[in-house]
Symmetry: C2
Subunit: 133 residues, 2 copies
């Protein structure tokens, strides 16, 4: 199972990231990401959503638990699937790890070649895999 | 803004629902849904994911806050958008409201005609709209 889950997660172009606010409410954003080993990296990019980017970082400072979902939807419901990872979230502090994460993100998303993400890089260290069906 | 957000939410075929577990961790599942006024309805269907369906219901019993996201991804990042609603979540108890919700769900998803969802219906009473860009 995990090999399938890993391939589906690694290949997905977009995921949805859930964190919990300091007040205990769920917070949800779509994000680009790359899977490296058992860690998911995601860059807080330069688009005009600064407040939301900060929210994501404030949330993981308060509650370092995150959940990341990739899924396939089609009106043929026999083809549906999803993969979810629960993780411990942190902002990458180590310059070498940050460089690796940005390299892998840029290899997956050529969009980053022209405009490298200027902000922080989130790391999600996976603690649990779930897939359906 | 809200008219655009409403149309995008109403038209989306799949959304992602975030809740918070009793232990304070985020929980995330894709779901089908229908927007009626300022309430989102989603059925807990009969697929073999009973544990997860129960999890969703246990979560909202412990923490009645939910967040629901619809988004558009394309490798042309100039076309990206998302709409998110934060909501108070509840299981529909009123038989008339349940009937209405199932009618609207079935009108949106013909898949439900053959196999009506046998389980509970979740209601998310929207308290906040957010959209990007």
């Amino acid at each position: 199972m995990k090999a399938d889950a890993r391939a589906r997660l690694a290949d997905a172009r977009v995921a949805r990231l859930a964190t919990v606010t300091a007040e205990g409410s769920p917070h949800l954003v779509p994000c680009c990401f790359v899977l490296v080993g058992d860690t998911v990296y995601s860059a807080v990019d330069g688009k005009p959503k600064t407040t939301l980017a900060l929210r994501r970082l404030a949330n993981i400072a308060a509650h370092p638990r995150a959940s990341l979902l990739v899924d396939h939807y089609d009106d043929d419901w026999s083809t549906l699937w999803w993969v979810r990872v629960d993780a411990a979230a942190r902002v990458v502090a180590d310059p070498g790890e940050r460089e690796l994460a940005l390299e892998r993100l840029t290899a997956k998303y050529p969009q980053y070649v022209r405009t490298p993400p200027p902000g922080d890089v989130l790391a999600l260290d996976i603690t649990r895999w779930r897939m359906w069906p």
